[in-house]
Subunit: 781 residues, 2 copies
């Protein structure tokens, strides 16, 4: 639905000034089916930006431009006080309030939205009015017919003002081009109060201080310092305009000050006027820094010293082309659109928070300097350790080292690794310590540039030092997490056991036998919450008693219940470190696959489903992460055709190329990474094992260009909605009937051929040697 609108050239594109951008889009769209077509042309940034009806969901993505893993992510906000969707942009809204420079992609919680700019015409009116009232401020109507987006470029016609607004971005700088209608003076509003809804009780967002300064006729500088989902953010900016500011009004609250040099306050805005009578085109570039105005200036000087809007669009688009080219696929146009938009979403974060000179804000809120000019943040680890980080280790080995080293810096100043790190700042969102699988996986896969000893020190500290959500002394004492010690105890017990298995693997690699044994023991503590009677993992108190009454369909949220954003059904499956033991606990393959069958068919939804659960197939909820590996579990129990069935079903039914293309929050790349792996035919059920379980690919071909110079190509014959079952597989030309491939297979380079059919081959993948080893990492070193 949106895919064509995305690249269709609007009438006004015939105007000379849009030509360059138009040519670029042309190149990358009209010839999209040809061999040398640009991969960026497949990216549709509107996927995930809004539900299409009451039964669908938004991924909470934003459509505006960013560089890969860039700091500035400039995008339209449709909400005055963004909260839901967390991206600030709802495809179903009919108005835009402005363009702010920082966004989160796919999260369940909102924050950022820094330095909102909005062009306008007409009388300057108070911009401090009640923003709750729709149409207040400088909000303008727009329509999707006059809105277009691709990697590095966004355009919208603001109908209220007849202004065409175009956006592009470098790593630290947002560049906008406004084309005002003839014979009017143009205004640009700068709003430093625009932020996460301050009335929400969950996180109290408060602007602590802000400044806007008119430095000269062409330059505005300032900052805002605020507390929100991130405890403390300092956002400094330097803005330059291509035309001189003719007059200005700086607002503090409702009080406006004409042509004054500076305004300080907590609710401050500026209305700048330009003589667009004589020249209808006004460009503005805004550099951000989390450190200082001086650094924002340096960032701009380094990245965007001129005014070549089309050149920046081209440059940013080329950066994306290079990143998307890590995986070259063949498939249907829609598959390509979903796949490359997924890759685009996966590469939208983590974000490099370091200024071009390497300065960054550490977790202790001091300013430090990174010699390599890299300090990544936005680590939504509970989501992304599952498939997004394994995707990065495959496609972004250098950045993976940067991610790991950035996370280890939190250990340095904070004592333990990130749980959910935003803007360099721990926010303890969700559970577990899933920086551990990310780091262990990176090291075991031989990613270069990580200090292994230091990494182990950080991993071990994060596994032994009590901290919020992780009462390790009780973990060791009770050998499970008692619910009366720590809420969400079942989910934490299961995920902590997995993290412990990862620690053990790294200890083993480093020859730390005692640690290996200690953490291997801890990795089995999940057993202590298995209730044979109910057949579920179930909460116990310190006294060992099971919590009653017990209803495996009852949902928990983020506290006050043993299960995190799910129920006992959904959490039952979380023993990725030892699926054979999970099978054995239930009573063997038959009981296990029957339970899986029940899981995928039990439609009896309780009234109190947690809001994060969606994308249901029975109790399976693809809209939230606890389910993500479950379809692959049939592989371990002698029924790989059911993995193939459900994986194909999810690929075909729970992803599409509409604004509601995801079945829940996209979650910083995790939802997309599930698609990217699964569409190619494999998925890391245990993300730190170097093992990928085979599913049912939908792509005709996929070629992975790995960091080591080797390529690995997957081809699929007979893939279609009705033809999802593996008939046979060939690895490097030889018949292959294991249910998994290894990192080693990928790293060596080679080919994997799937031959699919309409009916299951019940024999394939069921032999004794079909199952992956439990522990021996099959990586490259």
């Amino acid at each position: 639905m949106i895919s064509s609108a995305c690249f269709k050239l609007p009438d006004q594109f015939s105007m000379r000034k849009y030509l360059t951008a138009a040519i670029m889009l042309l190149t990358s769209s009209l010839y999209a089916q040809q061999k040398n077509v640009k991969l960026t042309s497949y990216v549709n940034p509107f996927i995930g930006t809004g539900a299409v009806d009451n039964n669908s969901l938004a991924g909470s993505n934003f459509p505006g431009p960013t560089t890969p893993f860039g700091f500035v992510q400039l995008s339209p906000d449709t909400e005055d006080k963004p909260d839901n969707p967390a991206s600030g942009y709802d495809y179903n809204s009919h108005t835009i309030v402005g363009f702010s420079h920082t966004h989160l992609s796919g999260t369940g919680v909102a924050d950022l939205f820094d330095v909102l700019l909005m062009p306008a015409t007409g009388e300057i009116r108070s911009v401090a009015g009640d923003a709750k009232k729709p149409g207040s401020g400088y909000r303008s109507a727009y329509s999707h017919q006059e809105e277009h987006a691709g990697p590095g470029y966004y355009q919208v016609k603001l109908k209220d003002y007849n202004i065409n607004a175009e956006l592009t971005a470098t790593e630290h700088v947002g560049l906008q081009r406004y084309t005002f209608p003839a014979n009017t003076n143009g205004h640009v509003i700068i709003d430093l109060d625009h932020s996460l809804d301050k009335s929400r009780s969950y996180w109290s967002c408060k602007i602590i201080g802000a400044e806007i300064r008119v430095v000269n006729n062409n330059t505005i500088e300032g900052y805002r310092i605020l507390t929100g989902w991130a405890k403390l953010r300092k956002v400094y900016f330097h803005a330059e305009f291509s035309q001189p500011i003719v007059s200005s009004v700086l607002f503090s609250g409702k009080r406006g000050n004409k042509n004054t040099a500076v305004i300080n306050g907590t609710n401050i805005k500026a209305a700048l006027t330009f003589n667009t009578n004589s020249k209808s085109e006004l460009l503005v570039k805004v550099a951000l820094s989390p450190v200082s105005i001086e650094n924002a200036r340096i960032n701009m000087k380094a990245e965007l010293s001129g005014w070549d809007f089309d050149g920046i669009v081209k440059q940013t688009s080329e950066k994306w082309e290079k990143e998307l080219d890590k995986i070259r696929i063949e498939g249907t146009p829609v598959q390509k659109e979903i796949f490359y938009t997924g890759l685009y979403h996966a590469f939208t974060q983590p974000n490099n928070m370091a200024d071009v000179n390497g300065d960054y804000q550490a977790s202790d809120l001091t300013i430090k300097n990174a010699a390599d000019k890299k300090h990544y943040s936005t680590f939504s680890l509970w989501d992304t350790y599952r498939a997004a980080h394994p995707l990065y280790t495959l496609t972004q080995p250098e950045r993976t080292a940067d991610f790991v080293n950035s996370m280890i810096r939190q250990y340095d100043t904070y004592g333990y690794l990130p749980i959910w790190q935003l803007w360099g700042d721990e926010n303890y969102c969700m559970i577990g310590n899933h920086a551990i699988p990310v780091i262990v996986d990176a090291i075991l896969k031989g990613i270069k540039g990580i200090d292994t000893d230091k990494a182990y020190e950080a991993v071990k500290a994060s596994s032994t030092l009590n901290h919020p959500g992780s009462p390790f002394s009780d973990w060791e004492k009770y050998q499970y997490i008692p619910e009366d010690v720590q809420s969400q105890s079942v989910s934490i017990t299961l995920e902590m056991a997995y993290d412990d298995w990862c620690v053990a693997q790294l200890a083993n690699k480093l020859g730390k036998t005692d640690d290996y044994q200690h953490f291997m023991k801890r990795s089995s503590f999940y057993k202590n919450l298995y209730d044979v009677k109910s057949g579920f993992f179930r909460a116990r108190n310190k006294d060992g008693q099971w919590l009653s009454p017990f209803n495996p369909l009852k949902y928990g949220g983020n506290g006050g219940n043993p299960y995190t954003e799910g129920n006992a059904w959904q959490y039952f499956w979380y023993v990725p470190q030892n699926v054979p033991d999970l099978i054995s606990i239930v009573g063997g393959n038959k009981a296990f696959t029957e339970k899986l069958d029940q899981f995928f068919t039990l439609k009896d939804l309780p009234g109190e489903v947690n809001g994060n659960a969606s994308g249901f197939i029975g109790q399976y909820a693809h809209g939230n992460e606890p389910s993500h590996h479950v379809a692959y579990l049939y592989d371990y129990a002698g029924q790989p055709w059911k993995t193939q069935f459900y994986v194909a079903k999810i690929l075909n039914e729970l992803y599409n190329n509409s604004s509601s293309g995801y079945s829940g929050n996209e979650d910083c790349g995790q939802m997309s990474s599930w698609y990217i792996f699964s569409a190619m035919g494999f998925y890391p059920v245990n993300p730190a094992s170097g093992i990928y379980m085979l599913g049912s690919p939908v792509l005709k071909q996929a070629t992975l260009k790995q960091g080591n110079g080797k390529t690995f190509t997957i081809t699929t014959k007979n893939a279609s909605a009705g033809s999802v079952y593996i008939q046979s597989v060939k690895l490097n030309g030889k018949n292959y009937d294991k249910t998994y491939i290894t990192q080693n297979d990928l790293a060596k380079g080679g080919t994997l051929e799937f031959i699919l059919g309409k009916k299951p081959n019940y024999k394939w993948g069921t032999q004794k040697n079909a199952l992956p080893p439990l522990e021996s990492f099959s990586g490259t070193n």
Copy 2:
């Protein structure tokens, strides 16, 4: 009452370990009346620390040690959640909750109280209990009989634990010596949650983040980041103990973690245990930095690398001796106690916020470096521009340049000069822009080390750029502040006109004739609020109408009323830049002095006196600053004997050496500076004019040691409570009957002799030439 307790040696002082400190105190107290006695011996830090009965007031001072103008001000807190008194210590409390490292002296609003330590014995219990409940936490009883304080030293016996606690401090480091009872293990509690009462609605105090880290057996580090009266404060610390930590519990909320390495959270505490069985004495030193833990370490290394408690007491005491020696006086013991305690309070701030390496947090919350290692803050300017800063220009010329340069740094990053600056951060407390008189006065008095052109740029910007409380465009448009534009309009109009006069003086000195004329015109705008009918300065709206009904006794607070913490009576007198015009407006000397007489005798207090007004003589309220110059106004109107009468009355009746020694908030040195000037016989009614009006000295002799090497000596004959009237005056041996002396007189060095008597000499000071010039600054350049 407190004076003797302050220096009396307690029994336990005979113990060897107290000997050095004891000897020092001995030296400085027992021989206090002798010639070579130490001036520090006169300082009684308990003055101002608490009301003695329902009719008296606390100055809101704290008794703990600090260096002159030092950053660390280590003092006992009697309140769990300090608010009132703002110092955190109430002399009437019977319990102490601990010793925190930063305090405000004499303010009406509380903040700081960073890094509270408390020694204890017994079982470790949760320190996270309900601190509202008296006796919760580790609170201990104490008595003033076992409590002693002097410059650089504080001691108290904590009765609940039988622990003797002694405190001293360097600029950035607090050093404590705890003597535990025999045969017990000692604990030290570190409380990073202790702060300004978080429930108060006026400023919401919130800990944004905090950390405590056990670095090794002897070292604890951490920080807390919080918002309060100061928008954002970052407090990093490095602490070392003289004995090894045997065990620890780190608390986050109510959850305690034994022997863990680090705790992060918003309500965190530590309980450390030491083996004080074998050695009863435990020392702990805590270095602070507003920049980083690393800087806290550097601060400690530079200032307090060893463990010589007595040596630090001696060193800090000697620093105070040097500062107090700027004015050497003769008088009664009580006069000396009030005077030198006043000087001590005046030199307690502004505080040098720069680390020893020069790093400091600027007003835009970035970290900058001061080459001279000085960055002062705590500028309570609405109070201190009146007499405290004029006292600094006389006695602290080098620091005055540092103060001015530090204030100008706010202009650099913030656009205008401080109004009330705390921890480097503008808080807009009170009204006016009284950094201007401070800077103008410093320049006109020839203080070296100020960039005059830059200073004028800052002064002019701060007088033209609209900012909170200062709507200059309306000021220029209406030529008064309309109450419907800006509340507190009468007070702001009067104080703004005075600040404008100061700008004009600096413009004049720099030959900026247009500016001079412009600001001189603005300095007369007070006339536009004079209501002939009522005979008061009275509020008008934008339409020019007087606000009705009008009651000159009705008080305003800090908004919502035309008068600031006062009424029309108290604000009537605020035209220090042109008292002759004020006299003329009323109808001449007779009408003016009659109005003054009425002011000092009108006892009819309205029911709604503002809480800041106190120390009444009629409507005169010495407890708040608007009245401070008024007693000197008779000098201008031919009745200097009434100035002498009321000044002597205030000196003798509204200051004493008890814990209730001030008639209101001491206000960062302003209350004390009034005493210091007035006790010597003169006072700067217009603090930027270089003119001091003569009053009625109470000291037998005072010798000012000025920064230029010249001394100026004032002697008084026949001063006593009954003998307050000037009979004659000699300046440098010659009869002198002007009602003022000039900065030039002081700067040249010389003598001023007062001969007082029991009855007025109605002729003295009433000749034509007795009055000071209006504009010609009589300074040294």
